[in-house]
Amino acid sequence: MAVCIAVIGKENSPKYVACLHSENELQFHYKVHTALDVVEEKLSLAGKSNCDVRELYLGLLHSTEEHKIFGYVTNTKIKFIVIVEAANTTLRDNEVRTMFRRLHAAYTDVVCNPFYIPGDHIVSKKFENVVKSIMSGNS
């Protein structure tokens, strides 16, 4: 379903980027990168309103003719970006939320690994498998 999934660290540098089609990976990099502007803006808005329980799901960040970009931010300011094809009209908002929840769970597992230093690039087979299954749409 998704064509690109990215995990971005607290300081907005990439920790993990996976694309369905690796040939135009750089293009996705740019897309994810520019989407961060919106994420930051949304976060700064959310920061102003003192809500106790913040909604982690940011919703649609940006949409182009080809792609839709969704965002999700954990409480530790780790950002998840999912890019889906705009042509995929059957995708419901709930499904996107599910993707993010799975991604978040997988990321939590990575961080739980005592050998993982937070802030490092994510190198984990398990995480990769989860990402692959999300991209292929097998839930």
Binding site: E11, N12, S13, P14, V17, E25, L26, H29, Y30, H33, T34, L36, D37, V38, E40, E41, K42, L45, H62, S63, E65
Partner: protein, 1211 residues
């Protein structure tokens, strides 16, 4: 732009589809009157035109009092050129109409004037449909003859030059006034409302008058004109459409005429009308007009203002603003948040409403492909409003699809669009998006469609795109971790594009710089293949232009900071080296360290933070001015090919420092390769070593330690002390085989002398010193360090300090020499063995010394030899410490000693270090010196050894015989000279006995010791040593090895003497004179008498002491001695004594004598001996106070030695 204007002018039929969006429009521009200020190129210089332009621009609004007496604010927008296509949209939005024209020109002749006028008129023709009024500003010398041509119908403004046009502003205001009135009249024409009507009733009367207009013209957008054919113009819908468009038009005019409240009403009614007829384009226009009017009402004072900018030295930063237009970019984000709501604007939209209306307008525009320009501009305007309201997300949504709007644009305009977008994104804080736009604009500059690729522009835009990627071109910022990492993949991509742009631009230095930066900062994000390729690329780029660590200044005044390769090669373990040992300066006077009694203590004395203040970056040693010093570092080559690093130098500051370049070739993938970087400090002070510089891959790099993350110290500090001399040393004694002199080399810090001497042998060694430095040697001190005591060392090693001092100062290049005197000092006396029953264990009182001698010698002779050899083996290296002399005083002590401790016959090695401390020049003044060492190794072989000794009384009382058993410990023959030309030849390891006559120790040497008759142990020891020294000074044993012609002298120093021996060695304080039958009996002479005869025995005792003796008991004892050594004193049956054998002399005055006489009759023949002795009872010295604790102790006894022997014969 200039070229485009001429292009438009030349083509009379412009392509209507060409559109020129003006991205700098703001909502307020809807209420402005548009005036073109045209620069007539030719004689007028651009600079002068700019001055005029600024003057004109300052009149950006004017106050006009309308016919109703209300003051209105009329705003003006000036442009430098205006496309006719945009003018065509003037019917749709009146602010697009060009209403005024000002052309500026300079003339010198009539021809110039004619040309200016002609062009002015042609411009008037171009904009004839909309133009209301025009002015022509003419600069030139006043000349009556020059006239404007007859067809010139505009108002000329004559000025002599640019500076003197003081009334220009008022002229422009006048033009504005005239424009306003034309506009106002038009408005009134359409509304049909007399200005005399009161404002209160105006809207009502307008409605009426509008309906009165029987025929309302249909207003058309440019692209609608060709669609008009076939429309039913008379239909009700069309009429309504005409009406709606007209009301909207009226709103536009009202807005321009300075009555925005009226405009609001018009727009609202227009919206209603147009919505009912589905006229989407105009509906959008009305909505946008409503937004504009609302903005003007809600936010008054947000007009374009001319920045007060008298100071021409501060031009606006390039690229930020297009010349000719003042954008609203100076407005900060969210600056409209405190919205100044005007109370009397009930019709105006709310801030959120404005954005909603804009959204609606844009949606309506989007329905028409030909209205792309309007749509684009509306997007930009809406975004700006949103930004000023502080809603970046909404602004982003307006801008999101701007790029997708179908517009026929030239590449230049596309670039412009991207740049404007980028500008807006920057304003809303979307730096990443802004960077993307900049980068896209940059690529447009060199795209395939672009016929005139401009790499410089491309490069400059790329450079601006760096910020959004969190990329600073200063590698140090990155190294210190000041900014976050950013997005490596994109950064690498961007940098690579930057390199290409710089190279194509023809600035290879820049390309090299950027590639260096890319390699330096992104090294860890590149995979090995990329690393290799990029390195190769760098090498290629650097071959065109070498990279140097200096900032590059671009034409745009941007400064590209230097990039240094610290990863290629990677350096680790940067460490400073102390000077070589022999060159290390030392303080001449050592500071006392206030250390505690412990070598290590966790308590720091004094201040508590002493340890913390001691930084690792400060070296605890010093370097010397003018002397080469070194730094070591390990280099790693991370590349899979050979890396040549040349010109490596040290970077230092604070002190002038001359670095010596070095080069190294690093094998592929290798490390660590240790490199030595050397340099010479040229000044005194604190030298700071900051890093090193390299030249590799064609790039020169200054690698500062503080910018290298893996370096623990940001810099190293070393103190440089003033210059010191440099000394070389050599020993000249080459012919002697025993001297092993290593080749004199600078690296050899220690000169070694090793000699082998026989005990007692002496030799000398010449040491030459050469001042090889540049400073004179003014101070030279020699000291020796050894395990030996200084006094003992002196016996082995001597030199003349005066001789050395006399040769100073030693100037550079000069040499001096001194002699070392070496002496094979050793002990010659074998330690007494435990099997020898020393006299010390015997009662020291009444036994005569000589009696013991035979027994001792015989016991020695019976000692088996092997036992002594055993001692040799057990003592492999004999300690030189002279234990003999230390215990020589007490014979009791000697028996206690373990004989295994010391064996003088074993060869000894003395290792000694001779330290030459030298200094001179400025270094001496600063209190520093250098130390050069001579390592001295002296092997002392045994020559002769005295295994046992004894003393025998000589024939005269003034002498005695020292009997010595001497062993030749050498392997060859040895000639021993003793006692006035007596020679003895000894074979190797042969032992022989010699007797040396020695003068007895005179009392003068001992007088002190007799002051107190009772001797303490200390005094006894002293007595012992005095006697022993006396013996040593008199006995001179010389030996010669005939084979090797070596000779030496043996000393008897430290010969232990028992108290028996001492009695013989020293002179008796009492002199005896024995008279037998009135004849003086000489000692050791044959004395005979006959049994039965009376023998008169007279004894004279003379006191040689300096004080009188009291209570001296003189006793005469007769005894017989048997072969076994047993003495028999019980001779009552063999002799009879007439007279007292024991006399008490109450006082024996000093230097006086006492005579005592008695008679003896021997009954039996035989050998008799007479023991004559005096014993002083108690401490009776007049000079010393009595009552001493020693009073009760046994008295000292003096004997006549040897005893008198009498041979009694039968009568």
């Amino acid at each position: 732009m200039r070229s485009s204007v001429s292009y438009i002018l030349s083509s009379p039929a412009p392509d209507t589809r060409m559109s020129h969006p003006d991205y700098d429009q703001i909502a307020q521009d809807h209420a402005s009157i548009l005036i073109l200020v045209h620069h007539q190129e030719g004689l007028l210089k651009p600079k002068s035109f700019t001055k005029v332009w600024d003057k004109i621009r300052r009149v950006n609004h004017t106050k006009v009092t309308d016919s109703a007496g209300v003051t209105r604010q009329v705003y003006i927008r000036y442009v430098k050129d205006y496309p006719v296509e945009s003018n065509d949209w003037g019917e749709f939005q009146t602010h697009r109409r060009l209403l005024g024209l000002i052309s500026v020109g300079q003339y010198e002749s009539q021809t110039d004037l004619n040309e200016i006028c002609r062009f002015h008129e042609s411009l008037k023709v171009r904009y004839t449909t909309t133009l209301y009024d025009s002015r022509c500003i003419l600069f030139g010398k006043e000349n009556e003859e020059l006239q404007t041509p007859s067809n010139f119908k505009s108002l000329p403004l004559w000025y002599s030059d640019v500076e003197s046009c003081s009334d220009l502003e008022s002229q422009v205001s006048e033009l504005l006034n005239s424009l306003f009135w034309v506009l106002e009249s038009k408005r009134q024409l359409f509304s049909g409302v007399s200005p005399l009507f009161s404002r209160m009733h105006r809207s009502h009367s307008q409605e009426r008058s509008r309906e009165k207009l029987d025929r309302v013209p249909l207003l058309l957008a440019p692209f609608e004109r060709k669609d008009i054919v076939g429309l039913d113009l008379e239909s009700r819908t069309n009429k309504k459409k005409c009406m709606g468009r007209m009301i909207k038009h009226l709103g536009d005019l009202s807005l321009q005429a300075g009555v925005p409240h009226e405009a609001l009403q018009h727009y609202i009614s227009a919206l209603d009308t147009l919505r009912s007829v589905n006229d989407w384009l105009w509906l959008g226009g009305a909505a946008e007009g409503l937004c504009s009017a609302s903005v003007i009402v809600l936010y008054p004072g947000r007009w374009r203002t001319f920045p007060i900018q008298r100071n021409a030295s501060l031009p606006p930063s390039p690229g930020k603003r297009r010349p000719g237009l003042i954008g609203p970019s100076s407005l900060p984000l969210g600056s409209l948040t405190p919205v100044p709501i005007v109370e009397d604007a009930p019709k105006a939209l709310s801030p959120e409403g404005i954005l909603r209306r804009y959204q609606e307008a844009i949606q309506n525009y989007a329905k028409y492909q030909s209205a792309g320009m309007i749509e684009t501009e509306a997007c930009f305007k809406a975004a700006q409003i949103a930004i000023q309201q502080g809603c970046p997300l909404q602004a982003a949504s307006f801008l999101k699809n701007v790029v997708l709007i179908n517009l026929t644009l030239t590449e230049q305009e596309k670039i412009q669009r991207f740049l404007s977008l980028s500008e807006l994104y920057t304003q809303m804080g979307f730096h990443r998006k802004a960077s993307l736009c900049r980068r896209l604009a940059a690529t447009r500059h060199v795209s395939d469609q672009n016929r005139q690729p401009d790499w410089t522009q491309c490069y400059n835009l790329m450079l601006q795109a760096l910020d959004g990627h969190r990329l600073s071109l200063d590698p140090t910022e990155r190294a210190t971790g000041g900014i976050a990492e950013g997005w490596p993949a994109l950064q690498i991509h961007l940098l690579q594009q930057l390199v290409v742009a710089a190279r194509r631009m023809g600035h290879s230095a820049l390309a090299t710089r950027h590639m260096t930066f890319l390699l330096q900062t992104m090294w860890h994000h590149l995979n090995p293949k990329e690393q290799r390729e990029l390195t190769k690329q760098l090498q290629k780029l650097a071959s065109e232009c070498e990279g140097a660590p200096v900032p590059l200044v671009l034409d745009s005044r941007a400064v590209i900071p230097p990039a240094n390769l610290t990863n290629i090669p990677l350096a680790k373990n940067f460490r400073l080296q102390d000077l070589p040992l022999h060159l290390r300066p030392q303080k001449i006077q050592k500071l006392k360290e206030d250390m505690g009694p412990f070598l290590y203590t966790p308590i720091s004395f004094g201040s508590l933070d002493r340890k913390s203040t001691k930084s690792l970056s400060r070296m605890d040693y010093v370097w010397v001015e003018g002397d080469m010093c070194e730094v070591l570092l390990d280099l790693y080559n991370p590349l899979p090919f050979e890396l040549k690093v040349s010109n490596m130098r040290l970077l230092a500051s604070e002190v002038v420092f001359e670095s010596i370049p070095s080069s190294i070739v690093l094998p592929p993938d290798s490390g660590p390769n240790t490199v030595v970087l050397a340099g010479v400090p040229k000044e005194v002070g604190e030298l700071e070593i900051q890093g090193y510089s390299t030249h590799t891959l064609g790039v020169k790099s200054n690698c500062q330690l503080r910018h290298m993350r893996h370096m623990p110290q940001p810099s190293f500090t070393v103190e440089v002390v003033p210059a010191l001399p440099h000394m070389e040393m050599s020993t000249n004694d080459q012919k002697n085989n025993n001297l092993q002199l290593p080749p004199v080399d600078a690296s050899v810090s220690i000169t070694t002398i090793s000699k082998s001497l026989y005990a007692g042998e002496s030799t000398e060694c010449q040491v030459t010193i050469l001042n090889s430095g540049s400073q004179p040697i003014e101070l030279l001190e020699i000291s020796a360090q050894c395990v030996l005591d200084p006094s003992q060392l002196k016996q082995v090693l001597q030199w003349s300090a005066d001789n050395i001092q006399a040769q100073l100062p030693l100037h550079p290049g000069a040499s001096a020499s001194f002699t070392l005197y070496l002496h094979g000092h050793a002990e010659y006396i074998a330690p007494p063995r435990s099997d020898v029953n020393d006299g010390g264990s015997q009662p020291s009182s009444l036994l005569s010394g000589p009696s013991s001698l035979p027994s001792r010698l015989s016991s020695l002779a019976s000692t088996p030899q092997p036992s002594r050899h055993a001692h040799h083996n057990e003592l492999s290296s004999g300690s030189f410490r002279s234990q003999i002399s230390s215990r020589s005083g007490s014979s009791i002590g000697s028996s206690r000693l373990n004989p295994k401790i010391y064996d003088p016959s074993a060869p000894k090695v003395i290792d000694c270090q001779l330290k030459l401390r030298y200094s001179g020049g400025p270094g001496l003044e600063a209190g520093y010196c250098r130390v050069k060492s001579i390592s001295l190794s002296l092997e002392i072989l045994p020559s002769i050894l005295i295994t046992s000794w004894d003393v025998l009384p000589a024939e005269t009382s003034s002498q005695f015989y020292l009997v010595l058993d001497v062993t030749n410990k050498t392997l060859g023959e040895l000639e021993l000279f003793y006692a006035d030309g007596k020679v003895m030849l000894l074979e190797g390891n042969e032992e022989c006995r010699i007797a040396v006559p020695v003068e007895r120790c005179p009392l003068s040497k001992l007088s002190k010791l007799y002051q107190n008759i009772e001797l303490t142990d200390v005094e006894k020891a002293e007595l012992d040593s005095v006697c022993s020294d006396h013996v040593a000074s008199l006995v001179d044993l010389k030996w010669v090895l005939p084979v090797s012609n070596r000779s030496g002298k043996a000393s008897l120093r430290g010969l232990p003497l028992t108290s028996d021996m001492l009695d013989i060695v020293r002179m008796s304080p009492l002199q005896w004179e024995v008279l037998l039958n009135k004849e003086i009996a000489k000692p050791l002479s044959e004395l005979t008498c006959v049994a039965g005869q009376c023998l008169q025995l007279g004894v004279t005792v003379q006191n040689y002491l300096d004080w009188p003796l009291h209570n001296v008991a003189l006793s005469l004892k007769f005894f017989q001695e048997y072969q076994s050594g047993i003495r028999n004193y019980r001779l009552d049956s063999q002799l009879a004594v007439a007279g007292a054998p024991n006399v008490l002399i109450t006082q024996l005055d000093d230097q006086s004598s006492v005579y005592h006489e008695c008679n003896v009759v021997f009954f039996m023949p035989g050998l008799y001996k007479i023991d004559i002795q005096c014993s002083s009872v108690g401490n009776c010295s007049g000079a010393h106070p009595p009552g001493d604790a020693t009073e009760s102790t046994p008295a000292h006894t003096w004997k006549l030695i040897p005893p008198i022997e009498l041979t009694v014969t039968d009568p």
